[in-house]
């Protein structure tokens, strides 16, 4: 600030009494300004043209570094020794019990020790369901949260408990070779497994509409019903059952619903 003159400019008359000094720009201020401009240009040139950095490049580099540091372990087979199951139990208590209940009997999420599995009851299917979650119904994708190790433990625990409850596929310390319990194929059984939670024990309607009154929102012919079940009404919460149940089971359950409705409406 060597160049301070403290000379008044004589603007006070026009500035409502405010005077101004004719001082030069402080050297260090000017230096700072010029430095930031040069740095800014330098940074931009370096980033884009010299080292060709980019956001995508950083992401890829980080992924490569992570893969090196934490190599993808081959999915180990599920182990069912006491220590593993006990560790799994602890994880279950922390993360899962709030929805599936401390006794695994269900709550917000479904019962894990009854006879039915929505996404498959084989140990590997259970592990996959935990890893990938069912986000559309509120089950979190636990893979990135817990990691494969903890998931293997908690899956072992769930399978063990389910077996006690008689619902899991047979386990011989390893993945069962063939499908689990015989899948129910009557319309009533399919309905009980998949539909009662929303449409009620007696189809009287709960979260979803009644299926035994004379009113159909999306059409009441067998064809309409099959169509509605297959595609669902996602915007209202009705699941698209097509990919879950498959054509054959949908045919059976649609016929069942249609018949029950006919019977109920005929009575009135």
């Amino acid at each position: 600030m060597s160049r301070e003159t403290n000379r008044l400019l004589g603007h006070a008359e026009e500035n409502d009494g405010i005077e101004e000094y004719d001082n030069a720009l402080p050297d260090w201020w000017l230096g700072l300004f010029i430095f930031t401009i040069i740095w800014g240009i330098g940074y931009a040139v370096e980033y884009h043209f010299v080292s060709g950095r980019s956001q995508a490049g950083y992401y890829e580099a980080e992924m490569v570094a992570a893969a090196e540091k934490w190599p993808e372990s081959k999915p180990q087979a599920l182990a069912f020794d006491d220590a593993t199951v006990a560790a799994g139990k602890e994880i279950f208590g922390q993360q899962c019990a709030s929805c599936h209940g401390a006794a695994l009997t269900g709550g917000i999420g479904p019962n894990l020790v009854d006879a039915t599995w929505i996404h498959g009851g084989e140990p590997e299917q259970i592990r996959a369901t935990i890893t990938n979650g069912v986000p559309e119904k509120g089950m979190p994708t636990w893979g990135p949260i817990l990691g494969p190790d903890k998931i293997a433990k908690v899956a072992a625990y769930v399978v063990t408990e389910a077996k006690k409850g008689g619902s899991a596929a047979p386990v011989d310390g390893q993945v069962a070779a063939t499908g689990g319990t015989e899948e129910p194929m009557t319309g009533e059984a399919i309905f009980k497994q998949n539909c009662v939670a929303c449409h009620g024990e007696n189809m009287q309607g709960l979260v979803g509409p009644s299926l035994v009154d004379a009113e159909w929102i999306h059409g009441g012919t067998l064809e309409d019903i099959t169509h509605t079940i297959t595609n669902g009404v996602p915007e209202k919460g009705m699941v698209s059952w097509g990919p879950i149940l498959g054509e054959e089971k949908i045919g059976i359950v649609a016929k069942y619903v249609f018949d029950q409705n006919q019977a109920a409406t005929a009575q009135n």
Binding site: E14, N15, D16, D22, L25, W39
Partner: protein, 482 residues
């Protein structure tokens, strides 16, 4: 010469300065300061203790938060800016406002818009663009009322009785010109019903326009008019000449040119192209010196008046305001650096930064001006100087608590989000665990905010007693040093 201006209305005998409009804006400023900060303290409590929303949808955090931001920025901030402009422009241009009708229309229109905002936001009517939430009919009203006010100011400048335009007016003009441009382009939307509309932009374009607007709302609503206010009221209150005329001109042009480009620093590590992110970052770094030019000119103007800073609460408020301006305009550019943003973005650090600018700079300079102006326009002695000093200390300690706790909270969550364990898994996979850790910080922030609000209530009391008092304002005007 200048002492006559301060106590008796100046101007010509047939067209004296219009101080009635200044009085109206002062009263509105005090009202909205108290409302806006009360809502701020309320939502601060909701973050610490959610039952404070009383289970009533209108009072939930998501609806009160935009009410807070709109009330403090556009109601409190807007009214103090207009207060300061109506008083200082007439005196700097030596002429009464061009149109009394437009002054009055501007005042009532602006208050009407604020009331409309205070009704619609709790009802959940919003366009969900930050700081531009208001629905399209209100947006239209803002454009009309703001432009009416701007026209009045422009015509007053055109009819001025002086040749030289003081630097404060340059800053005011940048506000009058830029804000309507930002507001109109960011709010472009196609109305569907009276309360609903569809923005004309989508995706990344929408985000870019939004933050071009958002950052320049900071730049041209919370910065340039307030710098203009500093350039008028700080020399007036201290009686000192402005340190450097040249610095004021150079930092003005540098500031307005650079600010406009810096918006993308809100979109680092997003889908915005890399080059645009770089642009936002480097223009932010280049903003340090132009911003500090304002701080320097303020602090160096006070040379020779430091003994008075020790006793005069108005100068105390100004020194802290200018210092926080310097602090937040250094912190902001640091947060614009990619690597820093990676940590600070989405955390409470941003909230701390916002409030060191908002409470420290905007709030404190506004309080100083209110304490300086109210006794002058009403010609009444300030009711209690010691109460004003108490306000100063409460506010200063409140800001420090607010910003320090938000840095703590921001660093805590930022570091916990990114932490990984030995196996490469997230160390804190459950988000709620991190949120729960923030609780003590939230409580302390509530305390800091409460102190700041208490100070503002003291000021409202003090100024109302001043207005209703009987003793005339008799402080001799400080004569500028020769």
């Amino acid at each position: 010469m200048s002492s006559a201006v301060a106590t008796a209305p100046g101007g010509t005998s047939d067209r004296p300065y219009d101080d009635a409009i200044v009085k109206k804006f002062i009263l509105a400023t005090m009202l909205w300061a108290v409302v806006g900060m009360t809502v701020g303290v309320w939502i601060a409590l909701e973050l610490a203790w959610w039952p404070a929303n009383m289970g009533i949808p209108y009072f939930t955090f998501g609806r009160l938060r935009p009410l807070h931001t709109n009330a403090v920025i556009f109601a409190f901030g807007g009214n103090i800016v207009f207060t300061s402009m109506y008083y200082s422009m007439q005196r700097l241009l030596k002429v009464r406002m061009w149109s009394d009708f437009l002054s009055s229309f501007h005042f009532w229109g602006w208050q009407g818009i604020i009331v409309a905002a205070a009704v619609t936001l709790p009802l959940g009517l919003t366009q969900s663009k930050e700081y531009a939430e208001l629905i399209w009919p209100i947006d239209l009203a803002i454009a009309v009322v703001f432009l009416a006010g701007a026209l009045n100011f422009a015509m007053t400048i055109a009819n001025r009785k002086v040749k030289h335009l003081y630097v404060a007016i340059w800053f005011y003009m940048s506000f009058l010109i830029t804000i309507p441009v930002l507001h109109v382009f960011n709010s472009l939307a196609i109305p569907a019903t009276l309360t609903r509309s569809y923005p004309v932009y989508s995706g990344m374009t929408d985000a870019l326009v939004q933050w071009w607007y958002g950052h320049n709302a900071v730049g041209f609503f919370l910065t340039t008019p307030f710098l203009g206010m500093m350039y008028y009221y700080l020399p007036r209150a201290s009686g000192r000449p402005v340190f450097s005329y040249r610095l004021s001109i150079v930092h003005f042009w540098a500031l307005v040119f650079l600010y406009i480009w810096a918006g993308p620093h809100h979109l680092l590590y997003s889908a915005l192209p890399d080059w645009a992110q770089t642009l936002g970052m480097v223009f932010s770094i280049m903003l340090i010196a132009p911003s500090w030019g304002g701080m320097l000119n303020g602090l160096l103007t006070l040379r020779g008046a430091w003994d008075r800073v020790r006793t005069d609460p108005i100068l105390k408020f100004m020194v802290v305001a200018v210092s926080f301006y310097g602090m937040s305009t250094f912190e902001g550019p640091m947060m614009s650096i990619r690597a820093v943003s990676a940590l600070s973005h989405y955390t409470n650090w941003v909230i701390g930064h916002v409030h060191s600018g908002a409470l420290g700079w905007v709030g404190m300079i506004s309080f100083a001006i209110l304490y300086w102006l109210t006794p002058r326009v009403w010609n009444r002695k300030l009711y209690s100087e010691s109460l004003a000093t108490t306000h100063f200390w409460l506010a200063t300690i409140g800001i420090v608590i607010y910003t320090v706790t938000m840095w703590g909270a921001g660093l805590t969550e930022g570091l916990m989000w990114r932490a990984v364990d030995d196996g490469g898994q997230l160390a804190y996979p459950v988000f709620m665990d991190i949120v729960n850790r923030l609780s003590p910080f939230y409580w302390l922030r509530f305390l800091g905010g409460l102190m700041y609000l208490t100070g503002a209530l003291m000021m409202a009391f003090n100024l109302i007693r001043t207005i209703t008092g009987t003793e005339p304002h008799a402080q001799p005007e400080a004569v500028p040093a020769k």
